[in-house]
Amino acid sequence: MTLAATRSRPSLAGAFAHGSTLPVTIIVLIVIVVWYLAAIPMNRVLSEPLIAAAGGGLGNTLSISWSLPRPVLPAPHQVLIELWNTVFIVAPWRPKSLLYHCWVTLSSTLLGFILGTLLGVGLAIAIVHVKALSRSLMPWIIASQTIPILAIAPMVIVVLGSIGLTGLLPKSLISMYLCFFPVTIGMVKGLASPDPMQLDLMRTYNASTAQVLWKLRWPAALPFLFASLKVAIAIALVGAIVGELPTGAQAGIGARLLNGSYYGQTQQIWAALVAAAVMSSGLVWLVGFIERRVALAMGGRP
């Protein structure tokens, strides 16, 4: 009886030890400790005269190293303060607000992601149906990804700017350029994934190519699509940030990064990086959430 009771109601400490909470907490703590420690030697050049002026000692070393106005490496709490100020204190529609910049980047990320997904799926459908295309198109698609995006992003922005395209679209095109690739690769595999028997079945029904695509290839490819979309949405964000770097730093996470490095505002850089990471994991989570809902609707085992 006692055994059953303990089994059915595990203690809080037990859940902590056996779940993923403990390892996650430990890793986070280690990262924070390493970060604080690293801030001391990395800020030495700036902090040394101040520490000497204050009379030295461990207490002064720590407090000065972790509270410099423009540190080389800001301490975690400095980044948190910057985040708090730019997210919660400033109104979100003001250019000083981090949320404003997040929205600028997010909008071009999402537009680029949608365009990239459409392009990727379109290319995959073409490649699966036309044998010649898989030979002729695939090398170009792969070559497109070997070009460093940082090298061509400014060209794309400048060229499109010269024909009057500015703002959202050029940045989105860079996102699209990065994120169509995993979608194409995943969907070529996914659309070709039905086994010969499932395809033969369609042949016995004398199904048209379009019917085979919509009733067999497309649903069979959906798991592959979602795996690709998770990669695609994360790199769409990277593309949008890279696209913001050469635009003269007007707005967006990329602009925040560039501004921060101009003026030595490392807290601002780190806050922008944290914001990018939060957005990225949020977007990947969202794709995963939709994936689970779709899988359930398609008869997946719960």
Binding site: Q198, L201, M202, T204, Y205, N206, K215, A220, M298, G299
Partner: protein, 261 residues
Amino acid sequence: MAAASVIEARELSLTFETADGPVYALSKVNLTVQDGDFVSFIGPSGCGKTTLLRVIADLEQASEGHISVNGMKPDEARRKRAYGYVFQAPALYPWRTIERNVALPLEIMGFSAAERAERIARNLDLVNLKGFEKKFPWQLSGGMQQRVSIARALAVDPKLLLMDEPFGALDEIVRDKLNQQLLELWGRTKKTVVFVTHSIPEAVFLSTHIVVMSPRPGRIIDVIETKFPKDRTLDIRETPEFLKVAHRVREGLRQGHSYDD
């Protein structure tokens, strides 16, 4: 020849060109299947029984000879959707419920929603799967899944049913039961069935005609007509008549093998 012939094959040959040289899958096959027959192809693996079924279904094309299905070339017959095909595996689409799997050919062939609902209900009832409409394939046993695939093949109401070792992957108890059900179904619907198997009792129990085949090259070595009543039960497998036919099939298979070693 009282009944019209549903399948007519004359000197039919099929050769696969492979890297190791040609493989003679079928060699000079002659076969007539009449309306309402239950014909089994039996033989060891590699004898071309599945290939012959696939040629009838236009999933493979003969290299030589002539074949007609419902008086048409196989590709015309396929385009006119003259047959239902049951594969070795159920080949259900895992993302579709049972009723939507049965609906698949009906959707493709453009039946109305009302007609689809009626046919789904009728054919799931025919294979004793009423009440499973909303389940997904993984929630059903292998035998039930194969019955769904039979319902799917019957849904378009073809006159000809082509079955490629449909019960091969099932255990003997389930297989006996499905054989009995298939026989009842054949008696009720009066369809023509062509059935591929490698089980002698299955072939003898089900068929009006047993086509014994042999490999390398794939060919027909015997066609045995059985005269069991249409409403036979599994009990006939103990009768002397049944054993006699089974013996003749076995003899034929042994004869075919003697070319090998």
